[in-house]
Amino acid sequence: MSDKGTQKMLTKHKIVFLGDQGVGKTSLITRFMYNTFDTHYAATIGIDFLSKTMYLDDKTIRLQLWDTAGQERFRSLIPSYIRDSKVAMIVYDVSNKESFDDIPRWCDYVRTERGNDVIIVLVGNKSDLPDRVISTEEGEKLSKSLEFNLFMETSSKNGYGVKNLFKKVAKLLPTVNSGNDDNEIDNAIDQDNNAQTINISTDTKEPEGDSCAC
């Protein structure tokens, strides 16, 4: 509503965050939203919702972030939210092998609901931890094998890669990527059939000059 004159409506995109309990889905969102990190762990109850407007190049998009609970008892809620999401962000903890091993299961959830009509992003969180058990290469390999659209490692604690992740995800979105038609998602995904892997190493710093104005 802030535009002067005839309004240009914001394009909204649903992103659902999936992953085992405690992998840092909420922290990732909090880092992106408020650029903060809370060391105190509080399990998500049900599904949380947050939204943020992103200014990317000459386009403005609104990301609706659906933060799901990792606990098993809330698992039944998740399919309903996957169903109308354009992006599924599957998060694992690089220091927790179980969470990494569960990725195919999460992928199945998404594929069952959306088939190939979805952008799947694999996120290896907690990259700041010294006792990592999943290497970047392993993450990349799994991402490629499961035909994910993007793989990135992040650290919600120090903010590493978080902005970049959302920026990359935003660029993958069909309206940002190609045109104005939501139906073009197929094309967008086709273009990205070869999973776009962002080769990063944990000891590098967050790239500067991020044009994301969020």
């Binding site: 509503m1 919702f49 399919p79």
Partner: protein, 865 residues
């Protein structure tokens, strides 16, 4: 006259610049003159210079400064000329040659006036006169430069004099002596002198007259011209006078007109004032045709038009405010008329704004949704401005519009929701047909699998998404930029406005989503009514409760301080929770009724059959325990909301929870009791069956913390039945051993159960006929028979619970042994043969009995204690 001559000579011969020797007489005289005298004499030249200049100035009117100066110089020159003459007279100079000079020589004057000559020699008379004046007027006349100048002048004069006088002398040589003589007489006394002086005076006077005449002659032409002009001037004067007269006459005659004019001017001023007043009035109290046109027909979506529209609105407001002045006037008709007019315009404005806002509000609001279709070209800032205007000035209509918008939006999402539900139903029907088709694509919101939990989850997730979407829409819609309102300078108003709009967001979203209430209620209720599985119902309840929590979090988050009253969605969710609870109760009651009906059917002979096999738990109890597991198994002890601790599982309050427990635990016990009472089996069997069933139920209750409160109840029932069974078993032991009557007899004397026992209490037993040897011998023989098969054929073996079995077995046996011991003591004390000797009627001691009953270890432990 000699000066004129001298000057003329000087002028005429200045060009010659010859070195001719000067006249002796003159040269001598000049040389003999003192500087002052000579200066004075030369000063007389100014007369000529002045005349010359004067004539020059007459011709050159532009040279005003020099003419003024020359006039004053002339006066001085005349005076000095006179002085010079007097001086000459006093010097007794011979001026005879002067007399002989051609006084009336016009040529000399012409020459004198020949300015070209003077100018050509740079001998400007005025300059010379000025210089000479300066010299003469200065106090010291001995300046070297002045002397030099004078010497130059002197030499010139001398030269001129010589050259002139050489000619003159030739002509007048004869008269020189005579004139010299005459001049000499001037100084003489007497008549001769007087005559001479008179003659000289006459000569001078003539000379002066001639000189003046000659001078004036040059003016004659001018005079003639002036005279010629005179008649014309006279004519002009006459004309002038005539004109003056005419003017005066006209002026006299125009007095009336003047008055008229002044009156008209006054009127004009009045009219101008009136005009100004009217103009001011017009601008203050009326609006122009263009402004009225704007109000009636302007395209409000156009930015320029809308800006002008608001300007007109402000103007109308001002007019309305200013109309108070008019209403306060004596004649208030005008004020009333203007007020009416403005009110009418205000109504038109309001109608137009309301119409504009109403027309576009649905589009603007819904344009934020996912499925927006931007076909209209709405100027959103302008729309917002109109909305703010309505909110400020016409809150009633603003509320009405918002209400209508909310209703429309609510209807829209409700229809959409119904379509989704319809799609779900259609899909269920189509699923069977299309399940084999691999190309079948799920276009519906919901999955095709018919699953209550999934349906409820999907439905509530849809509502959740809708709620989020509406919240975003509302936030975006009410994100007003108050700076758009130019006449709004009150910052506190902005703040209040923002707070009010923020509060409005929640209310509007709640109202919009409340459109789903009926559909949501009916659809979920419908599904719940079809569901008979308690676990599904419990899961459904948990889902509803979880979504209620999530909705509440969304609607009443920190950003949204809307009041938690009359929240349709929360009410619906609460209703669905209660519906689910009721459904759970209904299912439980139904199952109980079904069991009761099946078990207690009079035509059903199964009861006895069931009780025949006391060690088999009836199916219905097993099933019931499964139901309990099914119901309470999915419930986690962890509550979602810490503030909701007053609620039990499935959101039940104390009353309902107790009712549920009654149904789950008490009701089966009642059924058991009913079965037990209806059975024709012996009491012991029934008790054992009852104990077995109750114990089974207790096992299930004990492992579920939610049923912990019922555990005690079951235990008390078990205890009661156990005690009853112990007594029954003890009685059985007594009867089987033939000591039952003796036991009763002993108890009649003094109750054995009392802790205090003394054989002496039982002395009255001697009076009873039963107390004889035969009785005890029979008892002893019966004991032998009974104990031989007691352990193997004991019905207590049907007790499934070892704990209960042991208790019944040990307690009844211990009780019997205790009685046996006491009876042995009584018999030993009082039973005598005819010789009064002690008779040993019981062949076994208590240890042996305990061994025969199978509790020797237990009994030994009791004795040790």
């Amino acid at each position: 006259m000699d000066f004129a001559y001298e000057v003329d000579t000087f002028d005429n011969n200045s060009k010659s610049n010859s070195s001719i020797s000067q006249s002796d007489s003159v040269s001598l005289k000049l040389s003999s003159l003192s500087t002052a005298d000579f200066t004075k004499r030369l000063q007389s030249l100014s007369l000529l210079g002045g005349s010359y200049l004067k004539s020059n100035n007459d011709n050159k009117e532009n040279n005003n400064n020099s003419s003024n100066k020359s006039l004053s110089s002339n006066a001085k020159s005349f005076k000095r000329a006179k002085n010079s003459i007097d001086l000459l007279n006093s010097l007794d100079v011979n001026y005879s040659f002067i007399n002989s000079s051609p006084i009336n020589n016009n040529d000399s004057y012409i020459d004198l006036n020949d300015t070209t000559i003077i100018q050509s020699k740079n001998l400007n008379g005025t300059i010379l006169v000025d210089k000479l004046n300066n010299i003469l007027e200065s106090q010291d006349g001995y300046d070297a430069s002045i002397k030099n100048s004078l010497s130059v002048l002197e030499s010139r004069i001398e030269n001129e004099t010589i050259s002139q006088k050489s000619v003159i002398n030739n002509n007048n040589n004869n008269n020189t002596m005579e004139k010299t003589f005459t001049l000499q007489n001037l100084t003489s006394v007497g008549t001769k002198g007087d005559l001479s002086r008179r003659n000289l005076r006459g000569l001078i006077e003539d000379d002066l007259i001639n000189q003046y005449t000659s001078q004036l002659k040059s003016f004659k032409k001018i005079v003639n011209l002036l005279e010629n002009l005179n008649p014309k001037i006279q004519l002009v004067n006459n004309e002038y006078n005539d004109l003056i007269n005419q003017i005066n006459y006209s002026v006299d005659n125009s007095k009336n007109i003047k008055n008229d004019i002044s009156q008209l001017e006054k009127k004009k001023k009045q009219i101008e004032i009136k005009k100004n007043i009217l103009m001011a009035f017009k601008s203050t109290f009326t609006i122009s045709q263009y402004e009225e046109h704007l109000i009636r027909y302007a395209d409000l979506n156009d930015a320029t038009n809308s800006m002008e529209f608001f300007t007109v609105i402000d103007k109308i407001k001002n007019i309305q405010n200013n109309s108070d002045v008019l209403l306060g006037m004596e004649n208030e008709k005008l004020g009333l008329k203007i007020m009416n007019q403005m009110n009418n315009l205000q109504l038109i404005i309001n109608e137009r704004i309301i119409s504009y806002v109403q027309k576009n509000i649905d589009y603007v609001y819904s344009s934020n949704s996912y499925d927006n279709n931007l076909t209209k070209n709405i100027n959103f800032p302008i729309f917002q401005k109109f909305l703010i205007y309505l909110w400020k000035n016409n809150k009633e209509n603003f509320n009405l519009i918002m209400q209508k918008m909310t209703e429309t939006r609510s209807r829209s999402i409700s229809n959409e929701f119904i379509n989704k539900l319809k799609g779900y139903s259609d899909e269920i029907n189509a699923h069977d047909q299309l399940s084999t088709n691999k190309n079948f694509k799920n276009n519906s919101l919901y999955l095709s699998s018919y699953d209550t939990v999934r349906f409820i989850s999907d439905t509530l997730a849809y509502v959740h998404s809708l709620l989020v979407n509406e919240m975003e829409n509302a936030k975006s819609f009410f994100n007003f930029d108050f700076s758009l309102d130019e006449d709004n300078n009150d910052q506190s108003f902005d703040q209040n406005g923002k707070i009010e709009f923020n509060n409005m967001i929640g209310e509007i979203v709640i109202n919009i989503v409340s459109g789903l209430n009926n559909s949501l209620k009916s659809s979920v209720e419908h599904i719940l009514r079809q569901e008979s599985k308690l676990s599904t119902l419990v899961n459904s309840f948990e889902l509803i409760e979880l979504y209620s929590l999530m909705y509440h979090k969304l609607l009443y988050s920190n950003d949204n301080k809307s009041t938690e009253v009359n929240d349709g969605l929360s009410n619906t969710m609460e209703y669905l929770k209660i519906e689910t609870q009721d459904r759970i109760f209904f299912i439980i009651k139904l199952k109980l009724k079904k069991i009761e009906a099946e078990i207690l059917d009079e035509n059903n002979n199964n009861i006895n059959n069931i009780l025949d096999d006391t060690d088999i738990i009836p199916d219905w109890i097993v099933e019931w325990c499964t139901i309990i597991d099914e119901l309470l198994g999915p419930l986690s002890s962890q509550k979602y909301d810490d503030n909701n601790n007053d609620k039990h599982a499935i959101g039940l309050n104390d009353e309902k929870w107790n009712l549920l427990l009654e149904l789950l635990v008490n009701k089966p016990i009642e059924i058991m009791d009913k079965v037990k009472s209806k059975s024709s089996n012996d009491k012991k069997q029934r008790l054992i069956w009852n104990l077995n069933c109750t114990d089974y139920l207790l096992d299930k209750v004990d492992i579920n913390p939610l049923l912990s409160t019922k555990s005690q109840f079951l235990k008390s029932i078990i205890d009661k039945n156990t005690n009853e069974l112990i007594n029954l078993e003890f009685t059985g032991l007594l009867q089987s051993s033939g000591l039952f009557d003796i036991y009763n007899l002993v108890n009649m004397i003094f109750k054995l159960d009392d802790e205090f026992f003394d054989v002496s209490f039982y002395q009255p037993i001697l009076e009873n006929k039963l107390f004889n040897i035969t009785t005890f011998q029979i008892a002893n023989s019966k004991l032998e028979e009974f104990f031989a098969n007691y352990i193997n054929q004991n019905e207590l073996n049907g007790l499934m619970s070892p704990k209960i079995f042991n208790k019944v077995f040990f307690d009844s046996s211990m009780k019997f042994i205790d009685f046996y011991n006491k009876l042995s003591l009584i018999v030993k004390e009082y039973l005598r043969d005819s010789n009064d000797n002690e008779i040993k009627v019981f062949q076994w001691d208590d240890i042996t009995i305990a061994t025969l009953l199978g509790i020797e270890e237990y009994y030994q432990q009791q004795l040790d204690q």
